[in-house]
Symmetry: C2
Subunit: 328 residues, 2 copies
Amino acid sequence: MRIVVPAGGIGGARFLRGLKAALGIDSPVPEEQSTNAITVIGNTGDDITLFGLRICPDLDTVMYTLGGGIDEERGWGRADETFTVKEELAAYGMRPTWFGLGDRDTATHIVRSQMLAAGYPLSAVTEALCDRWRPGVRLLPMTDDQVETHVVVEEDGRRRAIHFQEWWIRHRAAVPAQSIVSVGAEDAKPGPGVLEAIAEADLVVLPPSNPVVSVGSVLGIPGIREALAAKTVVGVSPIIGGAPVRGMADACLDAIGVETSAGAVAAHLGADLLDGWLVDEADAGTEVEGIEVRSRPLYMSDLRTTEAIARAALDLGRELAGRKGGGE
Amino acid sequence: MRIVVPAGGIGGARFLRGLKAALGIDSPVPEEQSTNAITVIGNTGDDITLFGLRICPDLDTVMYTLGGGIDEERGWGRADETFTVKEELAAYGMRPTWFGLGDRDTATHIVRSQMLAAGYPLSAVTEALCDRWRPGVRLLPMTDDQVETHVVVEEDGRRRAIHFQEWWIRHRAAVPAQSIVSVGAEDAKPGPGVLEAIAEADLVVLPPSNPVVSVGSVLGIPGIREALAAKTVVGVSPIIGGAPVRGMADACLDAIGVETSAGAVAAHLGADLLDGWLVDEADAGTEVEGIEVRSRPLYMSDLRTTEAIARAALDLGRELAGRKGGGE
C-alpha cells in the first residue's frame, strides 16, 4: 500500500511511527520497501530564520522521531541535547532567547542553511538530511517556497502579527489569536514529488496533528487539498473529549472559530476531503454529515497502541476505498 | 603611557596579560584608564569562513584571554568548551572536520556573522563582542577589509595555495611551505582608529607572536608599518635558543627564508622598524645592526614572569624613546 500522510509536529511524528509498524516498515530506507511505502508531506509553515539559521521544526521532528534521534520526553529536538550555543548567544545579548536552540540541532540548521545559501531547494536539503537519519519514509516539504504561519494578536489595543513560533513558544499560545495567517501560501507551489505521490497513493491518512497549523498549513498550499480530496482520506482526531491530546490546538481552533471537539474538527476539514474519521471512545456517537465516523481508543501511549490506531485507520481506509471504488 | 601592540595568537595574548599587569591596568573597560592604555592591532589574516560562520581566531584569542574566557591549557578557544556542533556537522558529512569549532565559540561566530551580514564592519563587530568580554584593552582589527593568509604547498608535484588554518591545524605546518601569501593585503586599508592610535602612542611593543603570520600580517597592511616605524618600537623575541617558544613559527620562517634565531628575526623585522629587541638569556650576545638588543629571561611561565618581561620591554622603550627624542 502506498500511503500519503500530511503531517507536522509531535502528534504527526508519533503516529507515523505507529503507521510504519502497522505496515511492517522497519527498513530505514524507503526505497527498500517493495510493497508498502509512506510519503510524508511535511508542514513548513512553522519554519523560522533565527540567528541566520533556517529552522524547520516540523520536518526535523518527523526526521528525528522516525530516525531515532528525538528526545522522547520533550517530543522535539535531539536526545542528549545541550544548550550551550543558546546560552552563549544570550550572554552576548542576542535576541530572541525564547527559542529552544539545542547544540545538536544547531548543526542540522547550519547544514540546512548552508545548502539553502548554496542554492539548493528545501526539498533537496531535506533529502540530504534524511540521508543521515533514514526515517524509513519519504519526507517531502509541502512546498519549496517560503510560507510562514503568522498569528495576529492584540496587545495594549494594538494589533500586530507575530511568527507562529513566537506565539506558540514564547507566549505558550496564551495570548488570544485574532487570526492565523499563512503568509506566502497563496503563491506557493506544492514541492517536487508532492502531487505525484498523492496521485499514486492508495490511501491518505491525516494523523492526529494540529488541524489548523500543521495539517491545515499543508492543505493551504494551492493544489494539495484538491489532489488529496480525490483520494480516499481517513483522519485520526487530535481532539479527545473536547481537548487536544497534546499541545494547544484549542487555541488555534478558537482563533478560526471552530469548536474544540472531534466532530467540529472533522466538519471543519470537510466532507469533500474526509471520507473517514476516527474518534476516541470518549467521543463515541459523534456524527458528521458525509463522513464515516468510527470510535476506538485514540491515546498514543506507546508504540503498540499507536500501531493499533494506525491499523484501524488503514482498515477503515481499505473499507471506504472499496466502497468509493465500487461507486465510481 | 599609551602603548600600541600589534598582536595575534597565543603568545601575543599571553604577553598582553603581563603588559596589563605591568601598567597596572586591571579595569575591564579601557576608557576607565586615565593614564595607561593599550591599543591592540589584531591580526585578521588567520580569519576563515567555515560552515557560513566568519571565524577570527586571533581576535578571539586576545578577547578571550584578556576577558577571562580562554581555555588556559589549550591557549585557544573557550574554557569548559564542548564540541557537539562540530561532531554533529561531521555526522552529516560536512567538511572540513579538522577545525576545532567549539560550541561556545560557535555562538561568538554566529553573532559576528550575523552582524557582518547586517553590514557592520569587523571593527564594529569586534567592539560589540568586547562589550561582553571587557578585555581592558582597545582591540582593533588591523583592517576591515578581507585579508587571508594562504600558504603555497607542493603535493605530488602540484603546487596549490591552501588557507593558513588548513596548513596550520590540519597539516600541523608539517607540509613544507613554498611561500606564504597575504591575499588581499595590498588593497587593504588600516582599520578605523588604527593609524590614529599609532600616532598617539608613546611606545609600540611587538609581543612574542609569530613574526611571519601574526605580527608580519599586521605589518603587511599598507600604511601600518610606516606609521609604526615613526615610533619607538621594542620587540620581544618569539625565538629562544633557535626554536619558537610555542607553536610552529620555524616552519613559517623557513618558508620566507629566515633563520629561526632571535637575531635573524630582528634583522628580518628591520632596523627601520625596531629600536629595541629583547632576547632570552640563552641568546645573550646576539647583535643586530641598528637595534639595541638586551637579554633577560623570556619564558612566560606565569603572570609574574610575563609581567616582568613586559616591564623590561617598557623600561627599554622609555630609555630608547628618551634617546630618540633627544636625537630628534
